[in-house]
Subunit: 254 residues, 2 copies
Amino acid sequence: QHAIIAVANQKGGVGKTTTAVNLAACLAVAEKRTLLVDMDPQANATSGCGVEAADVEEGNVYHALLGHAQLADVIQTTQIPHLSLAPSHINLAGAEVEMVNLIAREQKLQTCLAQVADDYDYVILDCPPSLGLLTLNSLTAADSVLIPIQCEYYALEGLGKLLNTIRLIQRHLNKQLQIAGVLLTMFDQRLNLSRQVADEVRSYFGGKVYKTSISRNVRLAEAPGHGQPIVLYDIVSPGAQNYMSLAGEIIQHG
Amino acid sequence: QHAIIAVANQKGGVGKTTTAVNLAACLAVAEKRTLLVDMDPQANATSGCGVEAADVEEGNVYHALLGHAQLADVIQTTQIPHLSLAPSHINLAGAEVEMVNLIAREQKLQTCLAQVADDYDYVILDCPPSLGLLTLNSLTAADSVLIPIQCEYYALEGLGKLLNTIRLIQRHLNKQLQIAGVLLTMFDQRLNLSRQVADEVRSYFGGKVYKTSISRNVRLAEAPGHGQPIVLYDIVSPGAQNYMSLAGEIIQHG
Ligand SMILES: Nc1ncnc2c1ncn2[C@@H]1O[C@H](COP(=O)(O)OP(=O)(O)OP(=O)(O)O)[C@@H](O)[C@H]1O
Ligand SMILES: Nc1ncnc2c1ncn2[C@@H]1O[C@H](COP(=O)(O)OP(=O)(O)OP(=O)(O)O)[C@@H](O)[C@H]1O
Ligand SMILES: [Mg+2]
Ligand SMILES: [Mg+2]
């Protein structure tokens, strides 16, 4: 039984990629067979795993979505055992336009994943900062959605729109889509702002908020510059501990 | 003579809205007639000025872009003299799809602004975290583009794509589009990462990098929760000083 989790929030810079890369890496370290799919043309999750976008120009998620290649053919291994990556490339930005007039355009990723999902315990989808076709494809293909929320004011504003979009997907494209959980990111215990936003999120989402919150930790921001998930870059950092504990929560509760 | 400046970078969360709102407010405080146009469906610049999106459902940038209203009819005053706002609303997300098949779809904002630009010394455009039609409209309408760059690794990755897009706009849609400048945001003097990224940006962009950099300052993140630009929320904070000095640089050099 596999679980496909989309990491989505149209607000920019809230920690989607940092969460997708490090959660996937921690699940792999816990010996779960894990596939990370980079659905963002910025290809940050790809470089966060040490893969250069230039090396994947001929074979990446773009080619699989548009039917020019099998997803299995673009998947590659990473430095971490049990962690595979379906890389992105800037050419994926073209897919949003090219898919607009295709039949069942929201279901392209679902079709691709159906062929490989049984090889994995977890599939993690990193979404771009928008609610366009790439994110809609991810929400349609996913069993559940993990919503990272930065502990700052602007991050609260877009939540209503995101929940509306999830409801529309549940009604028309993916009946069993659930909210996996809400993850507080870049939490700084010393700041009133962080604590206030965290309280507001917990009162709004209740038990859906993961017990683990991710503290602001510069090692998490340094790791992508070395092309490594935090468990390789600095296993003793608070960032690594936070994501290990998140992976533990997800393994226990799904 | 007026200057239309687009604040753009498709990387999410780099400080576009914080820069657009606070630069516009500081220009107004310096008694420059300023119009802030919120081109992001998230409508963060709108709420950052204290305007509720619910109050502008009937008249916002969406209506002006699609020709249902004059831009002049949706512009409103703000708490700051000399600062006007063309608000956004979540319905603006629909404009990206509705404009796809229109003739001269990239020039809708340019046409709207032509009617009002002479009333202002500065027009500041806040862009969403993507290179879709709303950002393309902003780059086509603008005289110059201000690029905020967060002092972190992922923020460097998307720059090539942004510069390519600017070159395409210059070649096909807006010959005189210049780069107004590159602004370092969320700079933390204590972090190696911040200093390293800042050095890299300065070696890549040279004199295009503003002398003013914006330090990480929690008061900037608190201000939107009160619907106020930083000059109203906390004029003595480093954030307010940074944006006042940026406005000074822009007034001097354009
Ligand atoms: N807990 C954390 N502590 C410190 N820095 C963090 C943390 N989480 C993320 N960051 C940094 O914050 C920035 C934004 O994070 P990230 O790129 O993961 O967000 P995103 O939501 O994927 O952005 P986008 O909307 O552009 O896809 C990055 O530079 C990242 O390294
Ligand atoms: N210099 C700063 N110091 C501290 N916090 C900041 C600073 N600049 C911006 N922020 C905060 O960081 C977050 C991201 O900034 P902002 O929303 O302005 O970025 P953006 O590029 O407009 O994001 P998006 O891509 O979603 O439009 C916000 O919560 C904001 O309040
Ligand atoms: Mg990302
Ligand atoms: Mg913004």
